[in-house]
Structure formats: structure tokens, C-alpha cells
């Protein structure tokens, strides 16, 4: 899906999307390597961005309290959409059903989507002509949209973005994204003055 821009063969693109299982990590990786950053910096950026999934898995602990197998399968499938639907349900049983239902639907869409994406990328040639390079950041913005609606999230996002913007011309590629974590500290400092 993502790697088509980097001129990677179709097979690799498919395998990468299926195995890494996190489009946002791939976006971050490509943002860093695309800017001339090292593999190591790109991978660290991918890991930090993937913390979103760790947080989604944390949210699932409220629904899946027992059963190592069920908790494992639920955790590795944690995405924004299925966790979101699950958490909106009134009781735990309905929440579990909603989570699995959305999970199955999403997995089908994901694998069909990356196949179409890789094939199309191959056929279309210069994907920039179709604005594909804007498609990725737009998707990311839509993903964080809900947390940017809250004051704390908005401060974290604005400061993180500003740190990155200032550092892009002066710091090695990858570092601006990693150091944007400073936005979290800013949000915690400014949004709750009563905290010691």
C-alpha cells in the first residue's frame, strides 16, 4: 500500500502491509526514509507511531478480561475502528460481538485494499499525478482527528507538529518525528494547572 511510492516490488509491498499490520508505522517509516533519514531512525519512528496500537490494546482490557487466547487475538487485531465500536456498546457481551464483527469486516477490506493498491500503483506508474502523496497524510489526520478534538490532544498535536516543523531543516531526518513526543509533555503541563 505505502511502499509503492518507494519503488518497492509488488510482492514486498503486499508482504510488508500484511506483516507489519500498521499503515501508520509504514507511513512514518517512509516519511523518514523519504527525507533521507537512516533505516534505524525510520524504524524508531515507526515504533513510536505504533504506540497508538498499544494504547488501543489497553482500551480493550476493559472488554476482554479473561482467556489468554481471546485476549491475544483481540490485542493483535486492535485497530481504531473495531475498538471504537466495541467501546460504544452498553455491555461487555455486546461489546465483544461488535468488536469481532467489525474485526472480520476490516481484515477483509485491508487485504483486498492492499492488493488493489499495490496492483494499481504498478499500473498507474507516477502515483504523484493522482495526489497519492496527499492521501497518506490525509488518512493520518483523519485517524487522529478524534483526539485533536479534545483540548489536551490539540495541545499535544500542535506542539508536536511545531517541534517537527522547526527541526526538519536542522536535525537529521527521523529526529523531528521522534522529538515531537515533547508535545505530550507540553499538553500535560499546560492543560492541567492543578497537577503538581
Amino acid at each position: 500500500m505505502i511502499v509503492l511510492d518507494a519503488g518497492t516490488p509488488l510482492g514486498t509491498a503486499w508482504v510488508a502491509s500484511a506483516v507489519i499490520f500498521s499503515a501508520t508505522s509504514q507511513f512514518a517509516y517512509l516519511a523518514v526514509t523519504g527525507a533521507g533519514g537512516s533505516e534505524a531512525a525510520a524504524i524508531v519512528a515507526g515504533w513510536i507511531v505504533a504506540s497508538r496500537f498499544g494504547i488501543l490494546a489497553v482500551a480493550l482490557t476493559g472488554i476482554f478480561k479473561e482467556g489468554v487466547l481471546a485476549r491475544t487475538v483481540a490485542a493483535v487485531n486492535a485497530f481504531d475502528m473495531n475498538v471504537g465500536f466495541g467501546l460504544q456498546q452498553p455491555d461487555v457481551a455486546t461489546a465483544k460481538r461488535a468488536f469481532w464483527y467489525v474485526t472480520v469486516a476490516m481484515m477483509g477490506g485491508w487485504f483486498i485494499g492492499i492488493t488493489i493498491g499495490t496492483v494499481l500503483g504498478d499500473v498507474l506508474g507516477d502515483t504523484k499525478r493522482f495526489g497519492i502523496d496527499t492521501l497518506f497524510p490525509a488518512a493520518l489526520l483523519a485517524i487522529v482527528g478524534s483526539s485533536l478534538r479534545r483540548t489536551e490532544g490539540r495541545i499535544a498535536g500542535a506542539v508536536g507538529a511545531a517541534i517537527c516543523l522547526i527541526l526538519i531543516p536542522i536535525a537529521p531526518a527521523g529526529l523531528p518525528i521522534i522529538l515531537s513526543l515533547g508535545g505530550v509533555a507540553a499538553a500535560l503541563t499546560f492543560s492541567s494547572p492543578d497537577r503538581p
Binding site: 518497492t8 508482504v15 506483516v19 499490520f21 501508520t24 508505522s25 507511513f27 516519511a31 523518514v32 527525507a35 533521507g36 533505516e39 524504524i43 515507526g46 515504533w47 513510536i48 507511531v49 505504533a50 504506540s51 497508538r52 496500537f53 494504547i55 490494546a57 489497553v58 480493550l60 482490557t61 476482554f64 485476549r71 483481540a74 490485542a75 493483535v76 493522482f130 495526489g131 497519492i132 502523496d133 496527499t134 492521501l135 497518506f136 497524510p137 490525509a138 488518512a139 493520518l140 489526520l141 487522529v144 483526539s147 485533536l148 490532544g153 490539540r154 499535544a156 507538529a161 517541534i163 517537527c164 516543523l165 531526518a173 515531537s180 515533547g182 508535545g183 499538553a187 500535560l188 497537577r195
Partner: protein, 100 residues
């Protein structure tokens, strides 16, 4: 993208999901400050990735068709448009401006 980087990224994403379910989730129940810090990481870091993909070209900052596409995306996200509408409108804006 090398095989090693694919494997390392995969370990990072899968590992963090499992850690979230089995280690962090139970541990955070009594630590609200850490929990709210963790919740803010995606907003900060993904916003930075968005900036990088929108205005960076290597180490220089450029204003081009991508920024116009992302302005449309921002407006639509703010208006709570569906995900698919946001990405298509953003890509279409950039593509149309490039074609002009």
C-alpha cells in the same frame, strides 16, 4: 524496504499491542497520569508525521499542492466527514492542482 526493517517494524507493532493488553493495561489502572500521557502520544507524533509528509522535501520546507490538499483534509476532518471522503478529497485536490 529491507526484510530486516519489515521484521523490526512488525515486532514493534505486534509487541506493543500485546504489551498493551497484558502488561500496560493492568498496570495503568492505578496510574491516571501515565494513562493520560500514553493517550496523548498518537496526537503528538502522528501530527508530526503529517507535517513531515505535507511540507517537507528532504530537509527543506516547501509549500506546494500537498498543502492545499491537506487544508481540504483538515476542513473535512473538522466537519467530521467520513474517512473515505477525507482521503479522496485531499488526494483529488492535490491531483487537480498539479494538473493545472
Amino acid at each position: 524496504m529491507t526484510t530486516l526493517s519489515i521484521v523490526l517494524l512488525a515486532i514493534g507493532t505486534w509487541g506493543q499491542r500485546l504489551a498493551g493488553m497484558f502488561l500496560v493495561g493492568p498496570a495503568l489502572e492505578r496510574r491516571p497520569l501515565l494513562a493520560s500521557a500514553a493517550n496523548l502520544i498518537p496526537a503528538a507524533v502522528i501530527s508530526a508525521v503529517v507535517i513531515q509528509l505535507t511540507v517537507a522535501d528532504g530537509k527543506s520546507l516547501v509549500v506546494d499542492e500537498r498543502l492545499a490538499g491537506m487544508a481540504v483534509a483538515g476542513l473535512l476532518v473538522w466537519r467530521k466527514a467520513p474517512f473515505i471522503i477525507v482521503v479522496i478529497a485531499a488526494a483529488a485536490t492535490t491531483a487537480i492542482l498539479r494538473a493545472l
